[in-house]
Assembly symmetry: D2
Homo-oligomer: 107 residues x 4
Amino acid sequence: MTDHDVAGLQRRLAEFAAARDWEQYHTPKNLAAALSVEAAELVEIFQWLTPEQSARIMDEPESAHRVTDEVADVLAYLLQFCSRLGIDPLTALAAKIDRNEHRFPAP
Amino acid sequence: MTDHDVAGLQRRLAEFAAARDWEQYHTPKNLAAALSVEAAELVEIFQWLTPEQSARIMDEPESAHRVTDEVADVLAYLLQFCSRLGIDPLTALAAKIDRNEHRFPAP
Amino acid sequence: MTDHDVAGLQRRLAEFAAARDWEQYHTPKNLAAALSVEAAELVEIFQWLTPEQSARIMDEPESAHRVTDEVADVLAYLLQFCSRLGIDPLTALAAKIDRNEHRFPAP
Amino acid sequence: MTDHDVAGLQRRLAEFAAARDWEQYHTPKNLAAALSVEAAELVEIFQWLTPEQSARIMDEPESAHRVTDEVADVLAYLLQFCSRLGIDPLTALAAKIDRNEHRFPAP
C-alpha cells in the first residue's frame, strides 16, 4: 500500500508543469505520444531478454531502478493525459474490468 | 476523486487473470510489450488530428468512450506489470517528481 | 530479390496520398506516430507468444498474411516519412552499418 | 536514388549479427519489439513540436542527423525481421498498395 494517492499526484504534476510553463506542450495528442515513448523505453529494457531473465529483472539494483523509473514516467504521462481530458483512470479501469468479466467469462 | 483504489484494482486484475489461467503469459517482458501496444492504440486515435482537434476529443461520445477504454487498458497492463515485479507505482511516481524538482528547478 | 524498387514505391505512395488529398495529414510528426502505431501492431501479433512460437509464425497462413501486411504498413509510413524529409533510407542504413562496424568491433 | 539495394543491406546486417553471435537474440518477437522501440525514438524527436516545427526538422544539422540515424535503426530492424521470416518487404508493400487502391478508391 501507499500513502500517496492518484489525485494528489495529479495535483503535483499539474503544479510542476505550470511552474515551468510546459502546459502549452501538453496537448492530448502530445501526451499520448509521450506516454507511448515511455512505454517503449520500458520495452527496451526487456527487448533481448528471455522470459526467464525478464522475470529476474528486479534482482539487480541498477535494472530495478531503471524499471521503476520508467514505470513512474509512464504513470506520469498517463495521469497528465487523464487530467487534461477529465478522465478518472481508476473508474475507467474498474468499468473495463466489469465489461471484461462479461466478455471473457471464467471457465 | 474515486471510490476505487489502486491496490483493489490490482487484486481484481490478478483474480481475473488467475481465473482464466492467463498468468503463464504475464511475464514482465510480455506485460511491457502489451502496455506499449495499448499506448500505441491511444496514439492511433490522435495520429491525424491537429493539436486543436486533439483538445476536443472528448466532445464526441464515441471518441470519448474509445479514449477512456484505451486509458483503462494502459493502466491495466501497467498495474499488472507492477504487481508482477513488486513495484508500487504511486510511490515510484512520487519519488520521480521529487527527483525532477531538483533536476529541473522552476524559474 | 524483387522487381520493385524503393523509389518506385515512394512514387506510388505519393500519388496514392495526393489523389485522396491526404498530404495535409502527412506532417513528419504524424507520419512518425503512424509508423510507431504500425510497429506496435506487429508487436501485438507476438505479444503472448514464446520465443519458439514466434519463430513459427509464418507456418500458419492467416498469421503469415497478418505479419506481411503489418510489414507493408511499417514500410509504407517509413518511406513516406523519408520522402517528406528528403532522407534516402538505404543510404542512411548503409552509413549506420559503417558506423556500427567501428562502434562494435567484431571479436 | 541510391547505389545500395535492400538485398545487399540485408546481407550486411546478417553478417554483422553473425560475427557478433547476436543471432540468438534475433527471434521475430524480439526484432518486432526492437523495431517498435526505434520507431518510438523517432516519435520522441517530434513529441513536443508543433506540426510546423516538425516540418522544419531537417533545417538544423543535429536534428537532421538524429532523424536520419533513427530511420536507419528502424529500417535495420525491419530488414532483419523480414530476413528472419522470409518476407520480401518491397513485394509486401507493392501488394498492399494494390489492395489499398481497391479499398480506398480515389475520388
